[in-house]
């Protein structure tokens, strides 16, 4: 059976088998970054009223920096190749 056939037959069982995230794995970095931003700002801010805005700003900052870092590393790999 081909690899695609095996993938089509794969049935996800929560907690028992892995979720098939092989293709869009990088999308799963977004909830992780959001959680980091929320917890970090909840810890840092004196008033919880400021957390939503500050957490969203930090979330956006992390994403932008990750994209820039990915671009820089991709450029470095091309230069070294």
């Amino acid at each position: 059976m081909s690899g695609l056939g095996l993938l089509a037959e794969y049935t996800y069982e929560p907690f028992v088998k892995a979720m098939p995230v092989w293709d869009g794995w990088y999308v799963w970095l977004l909830p992780l970054c959001l959680a980091i931003a929320i917890v970090y700002k909840s810890i840092r801010c004196d008033s919880m009223r400021r957390v939503p805005r500050q957490a969203m700003a930090l979330f956006a900052f992390i994403i932008v920096v990750m994209i820039l870092a990915a671009g820089a590393l991709a450029a470095l790999v091309r230069i070294l190749d």
Partner: protein
């Protein structure tokens, strides 16, 4: 819901222990309920999402706890982060251990590649965020004790 916290004094070691047991609960003891719920729910959701993505076996404890502690840590470094999430990580590790044994009560599959990496990352980051919460809640408890 309390935002800045009522004047409650709880010994810092108790706050640290309670925050490890249930993420965010140390803030609740200090009367900071909004902070407790935000931190606790986020950490627990992150940990459970990790298990949903990579399966329960992403929490993979060392084979043995005897011998050189450094070797145990280097053997399973992610487990150090995961265990900081509290008893939910210990319970998950116990389920993983059982599934590897001769008479498992449930069959669990090991995940590989990206699924395993992301699941491991989620659960370990949940534990490390809980460590931040433990340190911060303990610090806040200490400040309240000094203010009395």
């Amino acid at each position: 819901m309390s935002q800045t916290g009522r004047r409650k004094s709880v010994p810092p070691p108790v706050v640290a222990l309670v925050t490890w047991l249930v993420p965010g609960s140390g803030y609740w003891l200090l009367g900071q309920r909004a902070r407790a719920l935000t931190v606790g729910v986020t950490i627990i959701v992150l940990f459970v999402l990790g298990l949903l993505i990579g399966g329960v076996r992403v929490v993979d404890p060392p084979e043995s706890y005897s011998g050189n502690p450094m070797r145990i840590v280097f053997d399973k470094p992610w487990f150090v982060g995961q265990i900081l999430a509290g008893p939910m990580a210990l319970a998950t590790a116990a389920v993983t251990e059982n599934s590897k044994g001769p008479n498992p009560w449930c069959v669990l599959y090991s995940s590989h590649s990206r699924s395993n990496e992301i699941g491991t990352l989620y659960t370990a980051v949940a534990g490390m965020l809980n460590l931040l919460a433990i340190i911060n809640a303990t610090h806040r408890a200490g400040q309240k004790e000094e203010a009395r």
